[in-house]
Amino acid sequence: MTAVYVALGAPFVAAVVGLLGGRTWPRLVVPVAVAGASVAFLSALVLAGRSVAGDLYESARLADVPTGGPPIGIDLRVDGLAALVSVAVGAVALAVQVYSIGYLKGDPRYSSYAALVSLFTAAMLLVVFADDLMVLLVGWEVMGVCSYFLIGHHWEQEGSRASAVKALVVTRLGDVGFLFGIFLLATTVGSFSIGQVLGFDRWPEHTATIATLLLLCGVVGKSAQFPLHTWLPDAMAGPTPISALIHAATMVAAGIYLVARLFDVFLLAPATLAVMAVIACITMLGGALAALGQDDIKRVLAYSTVSQLAYMLAALSVGSAVAAEFHLLTHAAFKALLFLAAGSVIHAVGTNLMPDMGGLRRLMPVTFATMTVGLLALAGVPPFAGFFSKEAVLGAAEETAVHHEGPAYAWTGWLVLVVGLVTVAVTAAYVARLWLMTFFDRTRSPVAAHESSPVMRWPLVLLAVPTVLLGLVGLRDEWLPDWAAATVLTVGGADTLSAEQEGVAQETLHIAPLTSALSVALAVVGATAVWLAWRRAPASDPTAELRQRRALEHAFFVDDLYDRAFVQPVRLATRAVGWADDEVVGEAVRDTGRGTSRLSEWVSRAQGSTVQAYLTGLLAGVLLLVAGVVTFAS
């Protein structure tokens, strides 16, 4: 467990030191930040090594927190899944810290930036290593806030400010549902401990379904799936390394990780799996189509991320956590690579917009080469990593659809398979578009572009390695499941899945030859279509002629819908409450004050007259009393 503590502690300490002392000792900032990330990465490698060498499972309880109800424990655990994901996190975090040295050179707020990236790393690792739902939630939300601060790094710009708030609020919305799901789990099981939740076998009817649906709210928010996907494209306003770290490799993967971690509970709820499949398919295809219509290179990658995350969610929805984990790892590698390469391009050309780029193939050879590798992986071209992981996903869908294997309904398998294949074609289309518009033909940019500095080049090359090689992990069907085993611990301590589950996960990778061939063919079709359109008018956008261009560019106007459905009513309610507080509630209070004054005026009128008026009253009173006595005394 020491490696776990070190992996968590190093970036956290780096963050604290950076936040408190960054301004006073600016020369310490870079060493502290890089050291924090390196230590985390090395510890993660140690853990991964142990996992590959043999079974890895350890857990520890740091403290008990009595609540009066289900108790919370500050628990940590590590197993194969956690180890592998932590390696991805550590690697990308280190790459980003190094890359940022060059990218943010001269930035006045670099110390707080680096510290927040370290804090973010610590929070993500907390999510990975948590063995208690509350501890996981702490890491989950701290990541969200770090993301808010980092997206808003260039807070002089209105776009950054707005995007940061949007990211925070949309994910928080999902997190409220997430919290309620945690409540349901904890009150049913009697504890917040993940180990106890996974080992629980007396689930009342529908509880697992409702709980997992609520947890799905958080997943949908954090992993930017429909309908809470709108924050991710706007989050591109943040610095590019942040987009690479947070919005490609780590934070958005946290949702997928959560489902994989709690997969045994999800397996009990085929209804939730069906909902997941539908959401994933909508997002998959929608994201890919939207990517086809974007002019900003980062927004293309953002929508691409949304679409690829949907692939992972789809894999989970047909019962294959292994395929999802595989795609998570490969996607972390190639997407981080793509974002950093895009950052390199943006840094050189000075603009995000692809219509203003072009011909960079000769001017930036290293970037061109590495980005090509990344794009091929994204499109799912063999033998790059993306091909194997995407095929794992599609293979799992085929198993469910054709062979009825796994916990999901057969129709979800068909849905995922068909939509997944169509999306492969669209993915290849937008990949080709990006590649052609950015690197080919003559330069449209007025700025003289040149290759970026070594500090920015080396992370690209390093990330290209796993992009190429990671796919080989999928060659043997059992390698990854063995290494990435998400160990389940029942209350008794046995290392098996509970026998009473409704569905059993697909334990190994399935790569079906027919589907693979079909997907490669579709990718070629998609890319060729775009190439042909580009050939006709090389200087312009291949999709400029499309009738639905505007809808694609605005991502089917979902944002505008939300604005009208949610933002405007809240603004209206705000004004109403502001008015009502003064005019209604406040006025009521003031009226009591005025009422009291008026009452006192009215009473004081009895004091305002002459002596004779007093005497009149006196006489009248005496007469009444006498009459009363005479009537009632007899």
């Binding site: 003031r590 305002g608 002459t610 004779q612």
Partner: protein, 122 residues
């Protein structure tokens, strides 16, 4: 003579006196009306004393008390009215109002409720 006659007389005198006290403005007239009321009470006392044939003659003794006190009171009252007249040139009760409750103005100090602070958004 039957009891009714002095009682009616007393009642009439009392009413006239009451009217005078309540409706006249001149202070001296008010004092005179008070005397009337007191004398009405005296007549009542004597009449009932005779009718009840009281051994102790309590009614008549009480009448003597009332006469004495009325005399003292009128002396004092007239002295006050004279002094007031010398000060104010008036003996009209309507104009002697120093102990009145003043007319309630818009009094910020007694208003317990605040106006809204100016910088609030609407």
């Amino acid at each position: 003579m039957p009891l009714l006659m002095p009682v009616v007389l007393a009642g009439l005198l009392f009413s006239i006196g009451a009217y005078g006290v309540l409706a006249r403005r001149n202070a001296i007239l008010v004092l005179m009306s008070v005397e009337l009321m007191l004398n009405a009470v005296n007549i009542n006392l004597v009449a009932f004393d005779v009718w009840l044939r009281d051994e102790l003659l309590a009614g008549q003794v009480f009448t003597l008390f009332v006469i004495t006190i009325a005399a003292a009171e009128v002396g004092l009252g007239l002295a006050i009215v004279l002094l007031v007249f010398r000060q104010r040139e008036t003996s009209s009760l309507d104009q002697l109002t120093e102990l009145h409750e003043p007319d309630p103005e818009a009094d910020a100090a007694t208003d317990a409720a605040p106006e809204p602070v100016q910088e609030r958004a609407s």
